[in-house]
Symmetry: C2
Subunit: 215 residues, 2 copies
Amino acid sequence: MNTLPHKTVERLSRYRRMLLRYQFMEKPYIFSRDLAAMLKINPVHVRRDLMLLGISGSHSSGYDVVELIGQITQKLECRSGKHACIIGFGHTGRAALEMFATDFTPVKIHAIFDSSLKSVSKTFYDIPCYSMEKIAEVIEEQKITLAVFTEADDNPEAMINLLIALGIKGILNLTPVQLQLPEDVYLEEFDMITSMIKLAYFSGKCPGAGRLKHD
Amino acid sequence: MNTLPHKTVERLSRYRRMLLRYQFMEKPYIFSRDLAAMLKINPVHVRRDLMLLGISGSHSSGYDVVELIGQITQKLECRSGKHACIIGFGHTGRAALEMFATDFTPVKIHAIFDSSLKSVSKTFYDIPCYSMEKIAEVIEEQKITLAVFTEADDNPEAMINLLIALGIKGILNLTPVQLQLPEDVYLEEFDMITSMIKLAYFSGKCPGAGRLKHD
DNA sequence: TAGATTGTTAATCGATTAACAATC
DNA sequence: TAGATTGTTAATCGATTAACAATC
């Protein structure tokens, strides 16, 4: 199958999560209209995305929920049955682990790496935490190809270069540090400060705007 | 000034951060080409974004770094001199606070709200943590209009409705819960699981793809 | 049939990039 | 002048939405 558009993959992930919850309700079928309403998007998106996957529904009853979950999972899973690790076990690393441990997700965390001795050699949600020295050994052994990067304190460049040398093919960067990656390493980023600046910029009015005087 | 495009605001935030670091170097001017290289984007983007802000550079020496920082900050600040709070002080809430405390940002956190008694009445990076019961009082008193939402445990709907009733105009949702918001409340979201699924989908090859046999 | 839904194409919209004149 | 850069318009690309035929 051809590569799906970025936005479609994003939505498929959200359909999947929503459908897994919906499954616990009585109804075995769902209309594009209802799934769209739950996600606050246009029903055409749902139908178009499912069309791209080759999934079809019925005019009278909509889409089969169980089949939908299976098909989406399978389509994403081919490429998401990959092993991931978390680099850095501060608040961000812990938040990430918690997220993976409590949400339905086909991507699994196989290792945590941290430089502080406090966490090393323990397990968290059954995931072992290793010292940074073990990184090469464990990534190779566990066939890890994805990394959640949460620690930019001491020499992030060196750490990233090591990850690349070890064959990591995708990095989720949760730090505000700008990473220099080769073409063939895929990068996802979340920059909280930039999100917050957008929030401030686009929400409501400027403080003071539209007022003539008084505080 | 007219409202800037979403992507431009995002990039301006990143220019600003990069320039604040660049400022510590000797050079007082910067070319669009160099700023773009640092951010791994097209130089035309830099020039176009600055054009939208009415900032102009010189053909021979580029843009004045100090002026650039001042102009960008001012343009974003008009709308970002807003007060924010963090809802929930688990790992995600702590990660958020840390980010705001250690990065240069015009948006300031004025309060943390948490339901566990362990953190309440203490301060973290000089920001006070209140119990959830104080939420109405503090949001009003501190004129808070933005919220970082990190806690979806008990009844997120009720919490969100309370925030809206209290006049919150922008929410950064860091939980995987789908929020139902009125039109006039701006929403930013980060869904880590979806980011990770994209990472898995778009990075490298499918495991096994392209190989004929052998593990 | 009438009403609602799916499946698909065409039109629109926003963002990116190519192209190039103007300037130093 | 020659070479490099800025500033700006036009072309391209991807994503969204409008429109509608086909189907139950």
